[in-house]
């Protein structure tokens, strides 16, 4: 910068006055930059709008004399219409389905990622990877159909009458399959980012491929895998259509996967799909649930980004 100024001054001194090298104000450039800036910060407004609108309606809900935080977080029956505000009736189902989903998607996704990143030949990889991408691209409502009309009947043939037609087990299992590609592709990215030198060092010490993968590469990629798991949980908590179709319609405080129960997302979908009058307690209560969902997923996403930045092993 300084050099430039000196240079210009010296130019001036040599009386090259007709070259005006100052930065010109170009109106159209400024307008365009202004528009682009506006597009850039629009996303901030979206976040503000989400927090404001959900917060406003949720406040209306919590401002009701009947609704207390103690009731909201302390009881287990949810039916705002008749004065029952125990969010646990919905949270229990969200926890159950998400746990099942993670139990499926974490081991399977991680194992797939290790195979794709460490074992598969480039040719095999180019065949297997698109299959996972197809799995990731299937709309969730199709997974819902699959859970209700394929997985549930199969489970029923094993478990018999214990299993209700709508149940958290099949919804959770299918949700696990849905999240698998996400975990697998994020973990694979993390694994492939581990430098080759580390693997070669392990081989030189006489380690087998498995020992190298599990004891050298995996720990080095742990931050990325951790982030993948957290993102996976956030997806499971926010997933709506699979649970809306297959997990059941009606709040039920239960952690038994064989029973029908309604998750937070499923409840929002069912209630808002019916005739819903504005400013009713049902309407406001949905925003309270949505706000909770938003905050939970926001925190999970932030943690995941923090994990990546904080624990990333820096090579090179």
């Amino acid at each position: 910068m300084k050099e430039e100024v000196i240079h210009l001054k010296s130019l001036e001194a040599q009386s090259f006055r007709h070259f005006d090298l100052k930065k010109k104000l170009r109106i159209s450039e400024s307008i365009i930059q202004g528009l682009l800036f506006f597009a850039g910060i629009l996303s901030i407004f979206v976040t503000i709008a989400i927090v404001y609108e959900l917060g406003k309606e949720a406040m209306l809900f919590f401002a009701l004399p009947d609704v207390t935080f103690a009731k909201f977080f302390g009881t287990t029956k949810w039916q705002p219409g008749i004065g029952q505000y125990g969010i646990w009736a919905l949270v229990s189902a969200t926890l159950t389905t998400s746990t099942i989903a993670m139990l499926i998607s974490l081991p399977l996704g991680l194992a797939s990622a290790i195979y794709l990143s460490e074992y598969a030949s480039p040719r095999l990889r180019s065949i297997l990877k698109p299959i996972l991408e197809i799995l990731a691209g299937i709309p969730t409502v199709v997974y819902g159909y699959f859970a209700l009309l394929f997985v549930t009947p199969i489970l029923k043939s094993f478990l018999g009458e214990d299993l209700s037609v709508y149940n958290m087990l099949s919804a959770g299992l299918v949700m696990g399959i849905m999240i698998l590609p996400l975990i697998s592709s994020m973990s694979e990215d993390a694994l492939s980012a581990v430098p080759r030198a580390l693997r070669e060092g392990a081989y030189a010490m006489g380690a087998t491929k498995l020992e190298t993968s599990l004891q050298v590469v995996l720990p080095a990629a742990l931050s990325g895998i951790g982030a993948a798991v957290i993102i996976g949980i956030s997806r499971a908590v926010g997933e709506t259509m699979i649970v809306a179709v297959a997990a059941g319609a009606g709040p039920n405080f239960s952690f038994n996967p064989l029973e029908a129960a309604e998750t937070m997302t499923g409840h929002i979908a069912r209630i808002s799909g019916g005739d819903l009058s504005y400013n009713s307690i049902d309407y406001n209560s949905l925003f309270a649930i949505a706000l909770m969902l938003f905050l939970v997923t926001l925190v999970l996403n932030l943690i995941s980004q923090w994990v990546v930045n904080k624990f990333r092993e820096q090579y090179e």
């Binding site: 996303s43 979206v46 399977l108 409502v141 199709v142 498995l210």
Partner: protein, 413 residues
Amino acid sequence: MNTPNTLPYPQGNAFYSTLRKRYLTATIWQSLFLGSLLIAIIVLMALIYNVIDGAFGYIAYEYKNSPSEFTATAPNELTKEELLVILKDNLSRGAYNKLDEEQTMETRSQSDLLNLFFERLVRLDTKQTWSMTESLSKGAEIQAEVAEKYPDAVLEFRSWLTPQFLTAPMSSRAEFAGVRTAVLGSLWLVGIAIAFALPIGTGAAIYLQEYAPKNWFTSIVQTNINNLAGVPSIVYGMLGLAVFVRVMESFTSGAMFGVTDSNGRTILSAGLTMGILVLPLIIINAQEAIKAVPDSLRQAAFGVGATRWQTIWHHVLPNALPGIMTGSILALSRALGETAPLIVVGASTFISLDPDGPFSKFTALPIQIYQWTTRAQSEFHAIAASAIIVLLILLLTLNATAILLRNRFQRRW
């Protein structure tokens, strides 16, 4: 033996047996890793099989009234005019007028009218349906069962996915229902979403990559975009309900423009909600595409005296365009399959009228699939499966286009 035996490593035979064990463990684990991938592939195939299995199969139905009560000729050979006369004569005035109001009877096609003939007059009554596997493997048993249980019923192998399924409007009877209104609704929806999100998303990406200074504010904007990409879609639905359906009702219902017959639950509201939902995806993809354009291009443009915007418009954007398009198509396919926000924003479940503008009520393909899947009768599951096939083919086409674009225009710098 001079080798000191104090080292904790196995020697001689012990060494080889340890080695064998290590190799065995390695093989077992490798097959487990491969097994997990195979499980994913098997599930995908099961899903596809399940959908196809549902869309074809035997159906046993009865006619409440025989077609010969209405006409002497075979129903399929009736002309449009004859059908009109039959319908007019046999339907009650009220029912006929209602149909006429939905769409003028004279403008309907012959196959539409034939459908009405079967739906309203002959009154086809489905007794039972079977999946494709059952139909193929137990055909004889099914025939025997039908002959015993429903002596008057006709048993035929039916493909639920027919050209007529694509062109017929909604109907309350699964046998006559089609996805035309739903497909049109979906197209309107993603059209509005992309028209809203593509310019803004690309603009945001340009700002962040080319203009934004590296400071705390920019990093907040960036973090915020990454977070928005992870917000559950149903939360966007709630946002759409609060902002587009309620606060901006006079705009989204068209009241501002003189449309009087609707509330805020219109295609426009849903399209804008979808647009907000895919915005972060478009921004992130466009950013990647712009990042991939090498700096030497920009410096060359600056070097010959181009302004910043000239550089972006003439050099950066054309080179980033394939990447941006690929990202937009992927965002489009996300919007096409998204269901939850539409339910919240208020997609109608039963609409037999084609959407005729941004202010009409709407339904969409995923909404229909959801509706039909949750019905108890198996014939609705069959049309849900057919609708899923339509949706998956649409998505496959979109994604194939994206891959083609990527391969065709991808450049290595």
